[in-house]
Amino acid sequence: MSSAPLDPQHPRQPLPYLKLLLALVAFGAAWRLTEMQPSALFAAEGRRNMLAFIGGMFPPDLSVDFLQRMLGPLLTTIQLSIAGMVLAILIGLALALPAARTLRFAGVLHEVALRRRRRWLLAVLPYAGARGLLNLLRAVPELVWALIFVRAVGLGAFPGVLAIGVAYGGILGKIYAEIIEGVAPQPLETLQSTGAGKLAVFCYGIVPQALPHAVSYTLYRWECAIRASAVLGFVGAGGIGQEIELSMRMFNFHEVMTLLMMVFGLVAITDLISAAVRRRLR
């Protein structure tokens, strides 16, 4: 094959338009399935409804009485997000340690290989289990978790805390594991060459490198948790979300606007705090 007819960089595709065709078919099917009707947006009745809703939101209800009444739910939302995040961090850490490949069976810490059976029992099995559990926790959205926990332990803030803790624990665990796997190996090798044991390598080599990233990501998730805890109220987990749902049901759209502004403000404040902490970490 001295005169290769094919450019190895661009192997000839058997059906050049196959991908395009597939994409078009998928698009058409999705269009049908989702009952897309762009014209419905401009139909008189729908437009009137939507404008009435949006118009009804202005001006926001800024009466002292209402704001005072909403102070409690506002604080509940903050508390819900913090308590949920504490639980999420605990779950995340507990699952990240077995789910980080470099702590289990690969990398600097494991150059002396275990015997095969011990390797399976102590390393690969916990790893696979933790990864699977993390995927499961992550796959189910926090609102669904909240609904399940409402059924399991009753209404109130408790199912909200559990929902954020479990859903975000899955996300944090995965990210923590990736951060641990991603630390630079040179400092670990340096420590090891001084005769440090595995625990010492973990404490003085991995933790200092991983901590800033982990903290920064956790803060970002806290922001998401505030937004989420506002939504979780819809299913009875208390806080601003519950008030939004109530006001919506009563058609008090002025109040909805105020509450949305509160969520917006909360998220903005969280954003400022986490940006400040991130700057200090750097």
Partner: protein
């Protein structure tokens, strides 16, 4: 300080370390205060929501949860439930796809206005021909576009869904609109930031050849930005598949609607089937998206 008295040959070392002693105790002091503050905040939060460790780890709630979870088992694997869960998954997948596409469309339309690189600064604006009035118009346009994106982003999908249900009625179309509008706000911001952080050299090179603004945009900016645009779109698709399942709870169809019915009517075994379907669906979308993103980079 020690640094000023040190011999010149030692100055390099001493001046380096001299900066540390005053700040180190101060930093430790702050760290402790911060830790105390965080601890107080956590204590306040747990008290406020009325949850304590006993509830989290106690036998009562554990028993409650365990018995509920055990009630879910086994999943309902009769063909009717499985078929409808499958159908719901496909519908949720379709909602997430169309919603993300709509979001990309919105973001692409808005990025022209929202990105500073296209309106107020950067290579395009070192060129002659931009008068003061024109600049002000562009600045106003940019502020308006950013404001709109902020609003789109600030309102959660769920609220958007309620608004669109009023407008177009119950059904997946409302879900698509809700996802598209909220995600459009998120992607619009990300796209604008991408365009602002492009490598300016190819743009300047194009400019040097005498290319006009449109040509610079088409041949300099778009080729650089497109892979990022696609990657962000795929990433949001992963987020949206979960969101699409949630939107079903307020009447936007798909798997979420079925789960809502099962939850309300205590059809535990069907719920487990639907949860499993959701798990498979989300894992599938994550895998496809990761694979596509890896191929892109």
């Amino acid at each position: 300080m020690g640094a000023s008295q040190a011999a010149p040959s030692q100055k390099f070392f001493t001046s380096n370390t001299a900066a540390l002693p005053p700040s180190a105790p101060a930093r430790a002091w702050w760290t402790w205060l911060l830790a105390l503050g965080v601890a107080a905040l956590i204590w306040w939060s747990f008290r406020g929501v009325g949850v304590d460790l006993g509830m989290l780890l106690g036998s009562e709630s554990r028993r409650q949860m365990l018995s509920y979870l055990l009630d879910l088992y086994p999943p309902d694997l009769t063909s009717a439930t499985v078929r409808s869960a499958l159908w719901g998954s496909i519908e949720t997948l379709a909602i997430s796809l169309m919603g993300t596409l709509l979001a990309v469309l919105i973001a692409l339309l808005m990025v022209g206005g929202a990105s500073r690189a296209l309106t107020t600064s950067g290579v395009l604006f070192t060129m002659p021909g931009a008068g003061r009035g024109r600049r002000l118009t562009l600045l106003g346009l940019s502020l308006l576009a950013r404001g709109i994106l902020n609003i789109l982003r600030a309102i959660p999908e769920l609220i958007w869904a309620l608004i669109f249900i009023l407008a177009v009625g119950l059904g997946p179309f409302a879900g698509v609109l809700a996802l598209g509008v909220h995600t459009g706000g998120v992607l619009g911001k990300l796209y604008a930031e991408t365009v602002e952080s492009l490598d300016p050299q190819p743009l300047e090179a194009l400019q040097a050849t005498g290319a006009g603004k449109v040509a610079i945009f088409l041949y300099g900016m778009l080729p650089q930005a497109a892979p990022h645009f696609l990657a962000y779109g795929l990433y949001r698709w992963e987020v949206n598949i979960r969101a699409a399942a949630i939107l079903g709870f307020v009447g936007a169809g798909g798997l979420g609607k079925q789960m809502y019915v099962s939850l309300s009517l205590f059809h535990h075994h069907q719920l487990l089937t639907q949860l499993l379907a959701l798990f498979v669906l989300v894992t599938f979308v994550d895998a496809v998206s990761t694979w596509l993103r890896r191929r892109l980079s």
